[in-house]
Amino acid sequence: MSQLTLWICYIGIFILSISVACCFIRMVIGKTLSDRVIALDLTAYQLISIIAIYSVILNQPVYIDIVIALALIIFLGTVAFAQYIEWQRYKKIGQKEK
């Protein structure tokens, strides 16, 4: 564990934190629900990256398991949100017919 790797990891976590802040701004001001879902998706990917870099800092490869579990869960969450947006559309059409 050299000093160079440590500093690179700190710089990476700093830039990733700025990226998370950008995604949260989009989540607050986003006009539609799709914007917010996309921002949440990218935030989760940034969280994965932060955990991976943190495992380098702590020098413990156990944290990579969390990355796999989170990568599985993000996909399910995004698919569920997509289904929800489509069901809202179906609901609107059903109200028109009545």
Binding site: L4, I11, C22, R26, Y45, I48, I53, A71, T78, Y90
Partner: protein
């Protein structure tokens, strides 16, 4: 040698994820935002995980990282395609610089059906003329 390689990979992945975040903040349209987020985001996560695998130099970490990258590369386009489909059906506003919408003649907004207008007539579909 591996120190430089892993550091370079981690920095490159960080740069790509930062680009994705800037794109998601600055792009004018839902579809453009998703385009920026999905491509650059999955590439950045893959590069960072590769850098971590190069740093540890262990077999089980490398296998887990390769599996994760494989899974992300498979699932990120599927998820973004589902979100794009749902948001198009929801009736998003495309940005003003979009000059062609190829799905529009095939989608009926009233009945929520996707159908080719050439199915009954038997003609072959022609290319949509592009206006520049």
């Amino acid at each position: 040698m591996t120190i430089w390689l892993s550091g370079l990979l981690i920095l490159a992945g960080t740069f790509f994820i930062f680009t994705a975040a800037v794109g998601i903040l600055r792009m004018p349209d839902v579809l453009m935002r998703m385009h920026a987020a999905t491509k650059a985001g999955s590439l950045g996560v893959g590069l960072i995980l590769l850098g971590v695998a190069v740093h540890f130099k262990l077999l089980n970490v490398t296998i887990e990282v390769l599996f994760t990258i494989f899974f992300i590369v498979i699932t990120a386009p599927i998820a973004s395609h589902l979100i794009a489909r749902a948001s198009y059906f929801d009736g998003i506003q495309l940005s003003k610089s979009t000059f062609i919408d190829e799905l529009k003649p095939y989608y009926n907004e009233e009945t929520h059906q996707l159908q080719s207008p050439y199915r009954e007539s038997g003609r072959k579909p022609q290319k949509v003329p592009r206006k520049l």
